[in-house]
Subunit: 401 residues, 4 copies
Amino acid sequence: MDFTLSPEIEALRLRVRAFVEQHVLPLESDPENFAEHENIPLERLKPLQAKAKAAGLWAPQTPIQYGGMGLPMVAWAMMYEEANRSLFGPLAMNCCAPDDGNMNLLSKVGTPAQKDKWLRPIVDGTVRSAFVMTEPAPGGGSDPSMIRTRAERKGDRWSITGRKWFITGAGVASHFILLARTSDDARRGLTAFLYHRDQPGWRIVRRIPIMGPEEHGGHCELEFDGLEISDDNVLMQVGDGLKATQIRLGPARLTHCMRWLGLAKRCMEIAQAYVAEREGFGIRLADRESVQIKLGTVAHQIQIGRLLTMHAAWMLDQGDRARKEVSMAKVHVADTLHNAADVAIQLNGARGYSKDTVLEWIYRYARQARLVDGASEVHQMVLARFMRDEGRDFWHWGAGA
Amino acid sequence: MDFTLSPEIEALRLRVRAFVEQHVLPLESDPENFAEHENIPLERLKPLQAKAKAAGLWAPQTPIQYGGMGLPMVAWAMMYEEANRSLFGPLAMNCCAPDDGNMNLLSKVGTPAQKDKWLRPIVDGTVRSAFVMTEPAPGGGSDPSMIRTRAERKGDRWSITGRKWFITGAGVASHFILLARTSDDARRGLTAFLYHRDQPGWRIVRRIPIMGPEEHGGHCELEFDGLEISDDNVLMQVGDGLKATQIRLGPARLTHCMRWLGLAKRCMEIAQAYVAEREGFGIRLADRESVQIKLGTVAHQIQIGRLLTMHAAWMLDQGDRARKEVSMAKVHVADTLHNAADVAIQLNGARGYSKDTVLEWIYRYARQARLVDGASEVHQMVLARFMRDEGRDFWHWGAGA
Amino acid sequence: MDFTLSPEIEALRLRVRAFVEQHVLPLESDPENFAEHENIPLERLKPLQAKAKAAGLWAPQTPIQYGGMGLPMVAWAMMYEEANRSLFGPLAMNCCAPDDGNMNLLSKVGTPAQKDKWLRPIVDGTVRSAFVMTEPAPGGGSDPSMIRTRAERKGDRWSITGRKWFITGAGVASHFILLARTSDDARRGLTAFLYHRDQPGWRIVRRIPIMGPEEHGGHCELEFDGLEISDDNVLMQVGDGLKATQIRLGPARLTHCMRWLGLAKRCMEIAQAYVAEREGFGIRLADRESVQIKLGTVAHQIQIGRLLTMHAAWMLDQGDRARKEVSMAKVHVADTLHNAADVAIQLNGARGYSKDTVLEWIYRYARQARLVDGASEVHQMVLARFMRDEGRDFWHWGAGA
Amino acid sequence: MDFTLSPEIEALRLRVRAFVEQHVLPLESDPENFAEHENIPLERLKPLQAKAKAAGLWAPQTPIQYGGMGLPMVAWAMMYEEANRSLFGPLAMNCCAPDDGNMNLLSKVGTPAQKDKWLRPIVDGTVRSAFVMTEPAPGGGSDPSMIRTRAERKGDRWSITGRKWFITGAGVASHFILLARTSDDARRGLTAFLYHRDQPGWRIVRRIPIMGPEEHGGHCELEFDGLEISDDNVLMQVGDGLKATQIRLGPARLTHCMRWLGLAKRCMEIAQAYVAEREGFGIRLADRESVQIKLGTVAHQIQIGRLLTMHAAWMLDQGDRARKEVSMAKVHVADTLHNAADVAIQLNGARGYSKDTVLEWIYRYARQARLVDGASEVHQMVLARFMRDEGRDFWHWGAGA
């Protein structure tokens, strides 16, 4: 049992911290940087990314041979958390969703040719990517078995027909990973495909307006009407779609947690700075018991979130699927992010509700944390089932299969 | 003890319900009606208001002689709740904030001349109004004793200097009620003044960007630099500013609750319609225990909010200040509105996070409910003090002073 | 809409308050009064009951012709709440469970002969009674359709075989109301029977040890092995067992709430007295924000509980079954009682955990409040179903069928 | 970063598990083992302890040279958690409170002579011990600065006068560690003394009746009226009393957490076994969503508690005081134990409220977890102050001073 970061990771953490402090955070004070769907304009992002690349802080999740840093997940945790002290940190260092999950999946299961063609440009930062799974009712939302988009054999190619929605980043992506139904088999009915935005046979129906600030490329609704895909662009085997999804999902859920922890800590910083100055009813806010209890409670939640996330990251690094651990981290950190933003807004009063701080940006963003990747109740039910099936081994320390 | 609505109020309630169903709700389906800061454009509001006026559903809180309906607060409760089934209901019937609180205050404490000049046009709907109290740090936020905006005697007039912010509706208001410091007396240091937007000596510094949808006229930051006010535009007596605020506050807090209950019920309608249709993992959402528990829990909270609000309204109708009762309603209903929107979004999944329903509008709007009119902790502390001071009479049924 | 108590009820309330203050509360300071299973010894109870009877505070739930006060439920609410300021109040005034529910049921559905024989002695206080429904696994716990105790025709009589448990008061009861299966019909398979303790064919297997203080007669496990019951001791018709249960249940659940509210207020009294005196870290506890918030929060919950209970009582008085209203009161007040005791213990520190106050007695007693009469989740699900089925009429004010 | 238990600790854990399974758990099924204040009779404990000693599972917290196992705290965590699967586990293995905290303190700060005289017999199990600090109002409860018991110089000895209460185990203890005031200095006003039960000048006033099951020796109220103590029985230096308390407190708080986690897991076992069998309303309880969510939520809390506890244990092993980490573990695990018992009772229904399982024993015991060693609010406020003072280092991984 050892809770120390290795010196290399600690050094990395401090470099990320300094980079964010020096190069990223200052960008937040310019309202123009929230001009494009409340996100930083691409022309301002590019020079920032160049700096990060030059600083060697780039694509932590990808193998070195493909241009990334090839770090273990325990190191991601620190890098992501520090990066997300700023809203723009993950974008700067090429560790934002959905690219990071896509890079991770392609690194793990792509053929060498697929990696050269589809992965390397994402790592380089020359293209963006999207993961095309969820569908509007009555299609597959959180339940992949309900996916209705079909891939049907047409000559030596697959032809795709159907509708998807809430496809993050689709508006700017060039490389797409698409889930479609190739049979009605319960376990092996889905297949993952790769396609490029310039291919015909599909279109973006609309960029769905949402409550929160948007990723570049928005959350789009897509229609497929005969998109053709050749066999060499099948990712893994035909029928492996669900498996591909699961390989992507664990780390993707966990990187969300890492980012959310960074944002939650940021909320605390803003709240602390305000209560240290502001008075009311003859007392400084920071000296009120009720304020201290609120802040201390969130600090407690954040620290729990960090332990859960680090534990799950370490498990994944050991080769364990870490399903329980990822579930626990996800449920907890999603709530924590909401609470951190909520408490910080409450302590800032009317100012917290205004756009004078980034709190309201984070608050709206946080709402999706409790929606994506499974509702809390579902995760709690899964935990109960694990506890039933594993008996007393449920409480085992260390990693297994 | 009688929990029945009088036949007159019940008839009124049904008329409001029908009006909203027929004339107001349909407006929500046109995205153009969210064009102006997510609020209905004024040119579309006017004809709607004309219809409401023609239907005799207009200004429930104002005496008949000044053009309102002269209803008791128990009747407001029903009318407001039904009106706010739609986002635009209160606007349609001239019972939206901050006008309703201003009309109520002017009705109660204005001189006949002040009522003719300042009240009647608001009731008619020809002008809008604003209540100018809160200040940015280090001025008076929720603590009026910290108010720094000064009114100083200059000849036979008062000259106003200072800064205010989060002044709801200031961008479209013509009639303003302003709180300023006329002495350093702890109890009688503040005075309420009336002024018109066309007077010189003040300006709107900015319309503060906020998280939520805006009232017409936004939430503005104001600067006063020599605005002059004559003695006949002092509301009540010099030194009565705090008293005026308190007279306005009780009913104003409670009408917030009435509106929020209407919105909370609306959230439930949207959620119920969705879960009745949507399936996942082989079961209709409406048939899942976890979904039923969520919906039932919110229904419970809403019903509690209605009892608390009705009780407080009835107390105010009896001439009681109802401080405890209003506090209890405010704290509870603010939380309820948040929970209703939050649960409805959760049950709608990604759709709930989009702007395809009004849920996200309500969710953002709801966040301010827990900020305005006193944080929950403050109200709970006030309750504890009442319980200490009143002993077993704290639990008395019926109204007193 | 009127939230005033009638002068008669208010006068009654004050009389009950005075009686409790003068005659009942002082009994709590003698440890001997907790000698019998933490309940007052019967020989001390008898003179207390004589005083209550003499004061005209006796059996509020029973018609005057049978020796009770014949009060509406709105009046019960006040009387029960005041009575239960003391642990021994309801016992003193013959309004404790399960007798009150049994008296209410017999009053409503008994034949004149049954009332003379079975009801009157309970009202007089010469015998105690029990309601024999719940069974150990795999029999009927909260689900009456699972009841396995059978009544089979044997000549002109019914012969009872089976096992029951958690039969409150069975150890001292003489009059029993028993639910048993007379057929497998889903709706009409159960029948209610009356029997006397002296009849052969049944026995008390054990007095089940429980966490909390006990009612007189404990919570017993019963075995039936040929108890014979004649037709004139069938309550209502054969097959009406479920109906009888439901008639009993609404008011019985609500009288629990009334009592629990009295206990919750008592907890607040004890807590307030302590925090007003005790200091720590240089400040009186009563002056700490965290203490005020705790107390204010519980006060808020109690007041909500009173509105819910009063509303449901009024509905029942109007002849409405008030299923939603009773459910809402039950769920809320059960939680409130726990919170009141829990907070009072927390504020009293180690003293709260000792038997130096009655708080720990109440805390243990409170645990069963969340178990009996349906778990909270079940009630919330029922509410969701009502909301679905009644549409917008769910929110109707006033009583219906 | 490494979350693996060392093979030695894992082997130890399995040995403890087996011992509990084989020798300790069976004792719970005999009601006679709850005969002495709901604790195992001493004459039955002795042979059990002999077995544990023979198995080499004895006094994990004490150096080998004094007869213990000399384990690091990370190993305690596993041993305590497994031991407390049974109510009697810690007693069996000499790792129950308050002895374990006293042994730890004496090991760390006693002189060699003091260790021989006062420590060794506790480790051997021939005597029990008590820590005498808390006082009834107006003395020092949770605030040591309010301690009023005085030690005054009388010749070459100290003479003790005052009153203490809630002294765990005092009824059976022979060795006492006593905190008394030797001056009014804010920091160095207290001194720790050692005395033996046979010395004159003090007495046990009463064994305070409490809600929960008792440790051997109860929680006693003590009166000191001239107890004389020689200088060689001063622990550490005169004026070091507060320091001694703090040295004892960190590990003592944490061993509470370790034990509570064991009990919480036990509650889950009982609940799972029941819901796997019991049906209601046509469905097995284990298959209800609401049941799974309850169980999963507690499992989540327990696992968080284990991470917090292990992290704090590891910090203490590194020589860090781990104040934040211990606070976080304490607050969380105290709540977890309550929730685990509460949920398990709820799922067991009436059975859970009976003494047919150990759940109600644990539920009552759990109530003190939220009282001892600082209320949750106090810990949250302390966290807020750390976060303020340490800035971004608050989130540092690894151990410092």
